[in-house]
């Protein structure tokens, strides 16, 4: 699977988006911390985290005996560049052409 496909697949699941939101709010959490207040078995959280790591959306650092999870925004930025900004720019160009045309009349 291509890197970008993994990112879209990872983001397609609400539980994984929730985990990303939690890490965005507080980076560097352990599995235990991430499980707190989540209505999900520890085992599923582990699986979701593995999928997120494989998609490069989180990175894992070992500090002593703990594994700390950190959100990596770079792939989402790549989606933004490739799939969002490009289309915004097209629309903005269209608007400014429209304005130029109207003002010439």
């Amino acid at each position: 699977m291509k890197a970008i496909d993994k990112v879209f697949k990872a983001l397609a699941d609400p539980s994984r988006r929730e985990l990303i939101d939690r890490l965005h709010a507080k980076n560097g959490q352990t599995l235990g911390e991430l499980c707190k207040g989540l209505d999900m078995a520890r085992q599923s959280v582990t699986q979701h985290l593995e999928l997120l790591e494989d998609a490069n959306l989180i990175s894992v650092r070992r500090v002593g005996r703990e594994k700390l999870h950190t959100f990596n925004p770079v792939p989402i930025h790549e989606i933004y560049e490739r799939w969002i900004r490009k289309f915004e720019r097209g629309r903005l160009d269209a608007l400014s052409n429209f304005k130029a045309k109207l003002e010439r009349k």
Binding site: A3, K26, N27, G28, N56, S59, R61, L68, T70, N72, P73, V74, P75, I76, H77, E78, E81
Partner: protein, 145 residues
């Protein structure tokens, strides 16, 4: 307070040598970052991040902590106003590892003040996406548009 470092990871289809060159050579960084790093890359030497804006505005200052070609770069990173106060400087480590046919580039930005945390959080993803595009396709992204 949250003191966890920011960790940014990107995979680039290039050699460690190419990635290193793209990081340290001003001629290249100007193309995808619109900045260059002015330093002789020796540990202990002064380091400056200079904007390619015609006026060569100094954006950040610090020191080179470690510089191992094609592998690892560590810098202290502070605001120009805090140039003399090393206690306010953050720390940036850039690691280059080979993973299969790719290079895994990791930027770890640590020891941040809350103010700097806010400001850098958007910067690195843009720079890294642009670097990746530059090395893989020859075209940088329009990073600061």
């Amino acid at each position: 307070m949250n003191n966890a470092p920011f960790v940014y990871v990107t995979y680039i289809a290039a050699t460690p040598q190419k990635v290193w060159q793209a990081l340290v050579e001003g001629e290249l960084t100007r193309q995808y970052w619109r900045h260059e790093q002015v330093t002789d890359w020796k540990p202990g030497s002064k380091w400056e991040l200079v904007a390619d804006d015609g006026k060569r505005t100094v954006k950040h200052v610090g020191k080179v902590v470690e510089s191992t070609p094609n592998k690892r770069l560590v810098l202290t990173w502070g605001d120009v106003a805090d140039a003399a106060d090393a206690s306010k400087h953050s720390r940036v480590a850039i690691d280059i590892e080979t993973v299969g046919q790719m290079v895994r580039l990791t930027v770890t930005h640590d020891e941040l003040t809350p103010d700097m945390r806010r400001r850098i959080s958007n910067g690195w993803p843009r720079v890294l996406s642009s670097l990746k595009s530059f090395l893989e396709t020859g075209r940088p992204l329009d990073v600061f548009a």
